[in-house]
Point group: C2
Chain length 415, copies 2
């Protein structure tokens, strides 16, 4: 089942906010054999909205639209849809009651603008938004369906899960099945891996396809995608080709699911019954953040010391000041002392430590911006690596974080 | 100058990766009066690419395209562009030398796949990619321009800054100017603010437009956008209407730039010459991460203790275990003890502390998932608030983080 997504909002188009709704929708409709044909991001502009709907209906039978439904003057999606599908905007009593209920629950006040949310086109069916004030509108025209959803990700995600996905798959039952399998591979640059898998790729049937998603210098995600009417046959073939891939790449595959590295690390720590702490300088808490973004991480993660100032490295993590003076905060000696210090302090078997120069300032000819020392400890083994990460401040922090997590993972898995 | 952006990649379309290139491009072309008409995200599919180019050329004279240029089999943008614009793929010696240089610099090996990057269409002009192996291709056809850029954000951002933006604005000189001004407003729900600004909005000329970007419960970004040929007149008018807005909203405007709250907090701390530390439980290091994502934060941020396990709250932050036993880790007593503990430990005048239930597990009828206690300290003043955040684990963490930063900001600004 092909469908398209139209995302509305000047703030998205000019890059002030990043659209995450389309990705969420795509991820959650894929298992039902739904395949997004395109995502189009447009501004709060009636002409562009109309044109985008024409185009989407020309290519697909179902269009999901998010955004442009706020109560203020710049949101013009609702009147535009009313003109497109016909009818007029009328006060809908169930919608009014729902808006009141939501407004009361969120401790807001009702006013002219929120009241306006209860005006809905007569040409659509309303799905009440249980977590926000903008009603979800379901339009049908000539066998085609357009569903207008709110721009607030939490509202769209909640209402998709509670009812819209169910209504869509009921309205457009499909017997085409799509199946994705993802494998996380370490130890290969993308082009070396492509050579290694050349014969394998040639052996794939036309309805199964392999894609490479590299995280340069860290890992590559391999995604196998199959599309077939016969679900059982597809599963069987995907199993076969997944097994062949696993045989070819052996222990270079550290995970056969699409998981972030921090979740893979969590699985390994849980399996080995180990605890973890972190001591962070240049990553500034981002390693702890990524680790605790995994549900259940409280089972193995004890805590972290973000020792941003050198005085904290000494006073809290007991890194000798003499050592920092002699070798610098960004040095192998310092990260080794940090990783040992936090393990002692938090009584963990494993730890990760970082110290580096995230930039834009602070670089020297000797230690340019992007220089990061990373250490990982497991039991009595400590490994430390110096890396030079390219990119801006955010990218250096992100890469150093992923590298720290990957370094401990490799140490634990003996890779 | 209207232009369009085409983003290519199955991984983006199915939501495995989030596109950030289009937003980056839009933000960096806006100051030159360039206005994105739409962003279209499509898969690695020759037919869709061809169709998207036709559509983009029908609406705009310039098309920027990112992605689909990797060396592996699933990237088919280059041959598709070669068919679209004519000519053939030939080995280009300067490109080969550039690929070799980049490969050597990154300590990779050259192989058949990387070598293939040096094959380029005869119908385009090449801009050498100084930080990656995929060359940037500049096509012209009937007065229209298409530039194909890599999918890796760092490569596209670097090359846009080093040369592509300059080449584009030189090729399409424009005398339409676009100006955005953003204001961060606290203390109003969106619809109350809309009522407050009703007359103001009606007084705006048609070429100046006000948009609301709410962060529910935290703050609203107001964005004033003006478009005019006469740059001086536009600046003057934008100044006038910005001043009127500032007069209307007074101290509810905490910043007149589009900055994240952590950067606003950084400005205030720097101005007041104060230092900061954080003590985090449920936010797991994300407050420290957000604070240190601001360049120069090492001037005021000392560090953080992520006390994820209760034992760390006691042993490191000196929260009495008796207090945790009596009132629970998620309690006003605990966050107050945490915020005081970390201030003492790191010798800072300010601190933020959090303790809550991020979910999905761990909720009770009394303290459901999303319950978070947040405390902020400045000098001898400590404020603590209990919040119930909606959303999944990531959303609860993100909201609690923003709330903690906002709480300290309000305390410092007496709001």
């Amino acid at each position: 089942m092909d469908y398209s997504i139209i995302v509305i909002g000047d703030e998205l188009l000019i890059g002030q906010v990043t659209d995450t709704n389309s990705g969420w929708i795509a991820r959650h409709l894929t298992p039902f054999g739904w395949n997004p044909k395109f995502v189009k991001v447009i501004g709060d502009n009636a002409e562009q909205i109309t044109q985008a709907i024409d185009e989407a209906f020309a290519q697909t039978d179902c269009v999901l639209m998010t955004g442009g439904l706020g109560p203020t003057k710049d949101d013009i999606t609702k009147p535009t849809l009313c003109r497109y599908f016909g009818g007029s905007l009328v006060l809908d009593e169930p919608t009014r009651l729902n808006v009141m209920e939501v407004v009361n629950r969120l401790n807001l006040k009702i006013n002219d603008y929120t009241a306006r949310q209860a005006l809905v086109p007569t040409s659509c069916r309303i799905i009440q938004n249980q977590v926000g004030t903008a009603p979800i509108m379901w339009f049908e025209k000539g066998g085609k369906v357009l569903v207008s959803l709110p721009g607030v990700p939490f509202e769209t995600e909640t209402m998709m899960k509670r009812s819209v996905i169910h209504l869509l798959t009921e309205r457009f039952p499909t017997d085409i099945h799509i199946c994705h399998r993802t494998f996380i591979v370490v130890g290969y640059p993308e082009s070396d891996l492509a050579i290694r898998l050349n014969d394998y790729e040639l052996s794939l049937p036309t309805h199964i396809h392999l894609a490479y998603l590299p995280q340069p210098g860290l890992y590559i995600r391999l995604r196998l995608t199959g599309t077939l009417a016969n679900s059982d046959m597809l599963t069987e073939q995907m199993d076969t080709f997944s097994r062949k891939l696993t045989e070819l790449l052996g222990s270079s595959i550290i995970c056969d699911e699409d998981k972030p590295t921090e979740a893979i690390l969590g699985d390994v720590l849980t399996r080995m019954n180990l605890t973890l702490s972190t001591a962070e300088s240049c990553t500034g808490g981002n390693i702890a953040h990524r680790i605790t973004s995994v549900a259940g991480s409280s089972q193995y993660f004890m805590g972290s010391v973000v020792a941003y100032d050198n005085s904290i490295k000494s006073s809290v993590l007991h890194v000798p000041s003499q050592l920092i003076n002699d070798f610098g905060a960004v040095s192998e000696h310092t990260v080794r002392a940090m990783v040992n210090g936090v393990c002692d302090m938090m009584h963990t078997q494993c730890a990760i430590a970082t110290s580096g120069i995230a930039g834009p300032g602070g670089g020297t000819p000797d230690k340019p911006v992007g220089t990061v020392w990373v250490a990982a400890k497991y039991g009595n083994s400590v490994v430390a690596e110096k890396k030079l990460f390219f990119g801006n401040r955010a990218q250096v922090i992100e890469r150093a974080t992923t590298h720290g997590i990957t370094l401990l993972l490799r140490l634990l898995l003996n890779l």
